[in-house]
């Protein structure tokens, strides 16, 4: 057939371990990419999805080698090609868009120059034509005023704009195939939606085939015609996008879709047990066997083959898929969370503002901070005992900054943080007494960074126990094992190092360390965003369980509105360090809402091809909060006039107790924009 552009045939890629065993990263992969089609490759970290995408370019990472099979592009095997011939194909016929455009662009060359470089390499245009082509390309990726953008340096652009430039560069060679490796992962939700929409437009406009690699089913759902689901180096499911998302017939995909929190459903999704096996550990049987709800003896001993089902045009690697064929829709059950919060106030932030401004000499002498326009300003939040409050916003909204100053890691400029109604927490870490430090514990985003790589799990959990309670010997050991059991880890984990644990296990250790201090408040900083989707739900469920057992209060920071929806009782939406909306999570997710909340909610990507993100405001990023007026004035599409630019909007209360800070009357906000 001529309409197949890239043909992957029985491809196996692997490496040799220290002991000399051959360990496979990709196991016998075969698939075809057709002309003009967008294929999404989805899988957890370590499933081999990036390795597959790179192989489609004829590139095998250092340390890995091709064990068998081929990648055919225009009927020549890329993996056997000489590098000179590959150069002619890469960029010109097959282009790649990397995950982090900020790092992929050379920082000291102007945007226009970098695109010109790509044009010189991959086209035969002369100087005049190239000049025209540059603005054409920048126009195509919808960057405002291409002429001025071309003269800028990468650091002068926002993350979304950088990603657009990377797309423009990839398009410079008019490639037949575009490979995208997690192109929107590092971006804010609103920007992400815009970039995806752009990619969709380009796919239609130019007829380029795309291979879209991502861990995010929500993003994949928006762009792809066909989806390949990978697990442990194998294709486990391949078929038309809609069928796979609506009626997944492989247990892994089925479980995955069930474990993703959705905006429409409050409460915690079911979690999938276990984690993906390490490469080289599965010798016989199905690689998904020990996490599968549908498995039997057959699955344990025999590996299933990829089976093509003609009537639904889908390939599946499972013995028992028929059980799932009958189930026509993924029915998601959630564990509704019980709101157990008491009326007693545990933490009160009043008029808190925080500044990152550099202190001037005079201010240093008088030990004060003077900044008229601080990063975070006027934060007033009451937090009740036992509730989960979420701080939501895009990067730069000041949500982590607020967490840091609650923990004492950052000095506040003004305002008071009060614990238990009358105890003032000093803004300086060194002035807090040990008990003040104990009651507030932190859990970080990335467990790779928050656990000391040279300590065993035992030593990690022992730190707070020794520090706060002075435990020693047998008692210490007993407490550590107790804590490990509470986070569902066995006793044998004590002697392990973080590098020997999976991402989910590491985060459990971090949770155990936080609970070791018997804190009243736990600050969770994006605790699930570094985890795989299938593990995320399990960690959320664990946190909820622990909260119910200990009556802890959580302050939960996240950019993921669906996760926030799942776990929190109350939500505070922040923009540029100012509060926009505070209220019970049920109400925040309903109208009326602040225009910014509306933008955020509209941009959420759901793993459902029928729910498209709504693009409201421009995805511009502001460097600093505005000097006066409403913080959202720069991006708001519902401005009522000059008042928004001059006066700080008042708080308005809705009937359900939801507070919105906007000049637009509640009744007006009630009207949906779209």
């Amino acid at each position: 057939m001529t309409d197949i552009i890239q043909k992957v045939k029985n491809l196996s890629i692997g490496f040799r371990s220290k002991k000399g065993e051959e360990i496979l990263i990709l196991k016998n992969i075969s698939t075809n990419i057709k002309k003009g089609e967008t294929v999404g490759i989805v899988g957890e970290s370590g499933s081999g999805k990036s390795t597959l995408a790179l192989a489609m370019m004829g590139y095998v990472k250092h340390g890995l080698y091709t064990i068998g099979g081929e990648c055919q592009f225009n009927s020549s095997n890329l993996l056997k090609m000489k590098s000179k011939d590959l150069e002619k194909i890469r960029g010109r016929k097959i282009a790649m868009i990397p995950q982090n455009a900020g790092q992929a662009l050379t920082p000291n060359l102007k945007i226009g120059y970098q695109i010109d470089e790509a044009l010189q390499l991959h086209s035969d245009l002369n100087e005049k034509e190239r000049e025209k082509k540059i603005s054409e390309l920048l126009n195509k990726v919808r960057l405002p005023s291409p002429e001025t953008i071309a003269l800028r340096y990468p650091h002068e652009l926002s993350g979304g704009q950088q990603q657009r430039v990377a797309v423009a560069m990839a398009l410079a060679g008019t490639p037949d195939l575009l490979l995208l490796d997690e192109p929107t992962t590092g971006l804010d939700v609103t920007t992400q939606a815009h970039v995806l929409e752009l990619l969709n437009f380009i796919a239609k406009d130019t007829g380029t085939s795309m291979v879209y690699v991502s861990h995010d089913l929500g993003a994949i759902a928006q762009v792809s015609d066909r989806i390949i689901v990978m697990y442990s180096g194998e294709i486990v499911l391949e078929g038309p996008s809609r069928d796979i998302l609506k009626r997944p017939i492989h247990p892994y995909t089925h479980g995955l879709l069930k474990s993703i929190p959705k905006l429409s459903l409050a409460g915690l999704p079911e979690s999938m047990p276990g984690s993906q096996p390490q490469p080289g550990t599965i010798q016989s049987g199905c690689s998904f066997f020990d996490r599968c709800n549908f498995s039997d003896e057959n699955c344990k001993n025999n590996s299933p083959q990829l089976e093509f089902l003609k009537d639904i045009n889908t390939s599946v690697r499972c013995f028992n898929y028929e059980k799932l064929v009958k189930e026509n829709q993924v029915s998601q059950t959630v564990n509704k969370i019980k709101n157990k919060s008491q009326d007693k106030e545990i933490l009160n932030l009043s008029e808190v503002s925080i500044s990152y401004a550099k202190q001037k000499l005079l201010d240093q002498i008088f030990n004060r901070i003077s900044d008229d326009n601080p990063t975070v300003k006027d934060i007033n939040i009451n937090i009740k005992k036992g509730e989960t409050i979420a701080l939501v916003g895009e990067s730069g909204s000041g949500k982590s900054t607020i967490l840091k100053s609650i923990a004492g890691l950052l000095r506040t400029k003004d305002g008071l943080i009060r614990f238990d109604e009358n105890r003032n927490l000093s803004s300086d870490l060194k002035e807090r007494d040990p008990n003040d430090l104990r009651i507030i514990q932190l859990i970080f985003q990335n467990p790779d960074e928050s656990l000391n790589p040279n300590h065993t799990v035992e030593e990690i959990i022992a730190q707070p126990l020794k520090l706060y309670f002075g435990l020693k010997g047998e008692e210490l050991k007993k407490n550590i094992i107790d804590l490990l059991q509470k986070v569902r880890l066995g006793e044998f984990y004590t002697s392990r190092y973080p590098r020997q644990l999976s991402g989910g296990e590491k985060q459990r250790v971090a949770v155990a360390r936080a609970f070791a201090a018997k804190p009243d408040i736990i600050l969770c900083d994006e605790v699930t965003s570094a985890l795989d989707v299938s593990v995320q739900a399990a960690v959320l469920n664990l946190l909820q369980q622990l909260k119910e057992d200990f009556g802890t209060t959580y302050i939960f920071v996240s950019h993921d509105l669906a996760v926030v929806r799942a776990i929190s009782d109350r939500v505070a939406v922040l923009y540029q360090g100012r509060l926009c909306e505070v209220g019970p999570s049920n109400d925040v997710y309903k109208f009326p809402s602040h225009p910014y909340t509306e933008v955020l909610l509209g941009a959420v990507l759901e793993p459902d091809p029928d729910i498209k993100p709504k693009l409201v405001a421009e995805d511009i990023v502001e460097e600093r909060p505005p000097e006066k007026g409403c913080s959202f004035q720069g991006r708001c599409s519902r401005m009522v006039g000059d008042i928004c630019k001059k006066e700080i909007p008042p708080w308005q209360l809705t009937d359900s107790g939801n507070a919105i800070r906007c000049h637009i009357p509640i009744k007006e906000l009630q009207k949906e924009q779209f």
Binding site: Q278, L467, S495
Partner: protein
Amino acid sequence: MKLDNLYKEEKKSAFAKLSEIIITMASRPSGLIGLSILLFHIILAFISPYVAPHDFKAIDPTLMLQAPSAEYWFGTDDLGRDVFTRTILGGRTALTITFFGSLIALLWGGLLGIFCGLVGGKIDDVVMRIVDAFLSIPWILAMLLIVSLLGTSTEVLIPALGFFYGKGIVRVARAATHDVIAKDFIVSAKARGHSNFSIIWNEIIPNVRDAILVEGAMRWSWMLLGFSSLSFLGFGVSPPTPDWGLMISNARGLMSFAYWAVIAPIVGLSSLIIGINLTADAFAKALGIDRSTKAPV
């Protein structure tokens, strides 16, 4: 659980860890050569007093500048002393002084560097500028000044060398600390309220130890060269104690007709330095620090 077997990496004793590192080092040809040379020199330093065939200070005018023979393997020097005896004894002082010197350099340089990296701010600024100022003084001039004021005894040489070679380690330790300091586990320890001492000891040192040890091993070979230069200039070991630097200095004028008297100590000194360098490189590679990608500061 099936996966358990894969993860069976129990906490090892320090000895087991060390022997594993040494085995990894010896698995590379360069590491094996380096280790054998170093080991050879260390053993020689221990046994040389007992195996030396002649008295190292026996002067005999009748035996001046004899060529190598069956009796005097490496010939004799201008005072008729046996060069072989003096060569195998000549590394002892240098090896001992520089070994303890580099230990001192490691200790003060490493700790100060880590401390500056952790606290940052004003203290860091002031301390680092002082270190920079000392770095700008040619060490040999400063050493000559110290030695001429305080004499050339071991108690003076070890701390003086330790001080001058520790300055570079301060920068390396500080840079290594900066890599670690931004990680969340440090932030977490700070938020829990651990003292600076506890953070340095528990959280930072295990993570920067390797880098500093490798740096220390490299400084050892530089210090050896430095110490021999001092001896060469007459400020190190005083005669008649045999020392390579001193021997080279004495015999260099007679090089044109009594080459043996100068070649033997040169081979001794350079082989030891090459041995330490190769060992340090292999040590770095065994620990997973690639010196080729990271230039020393």
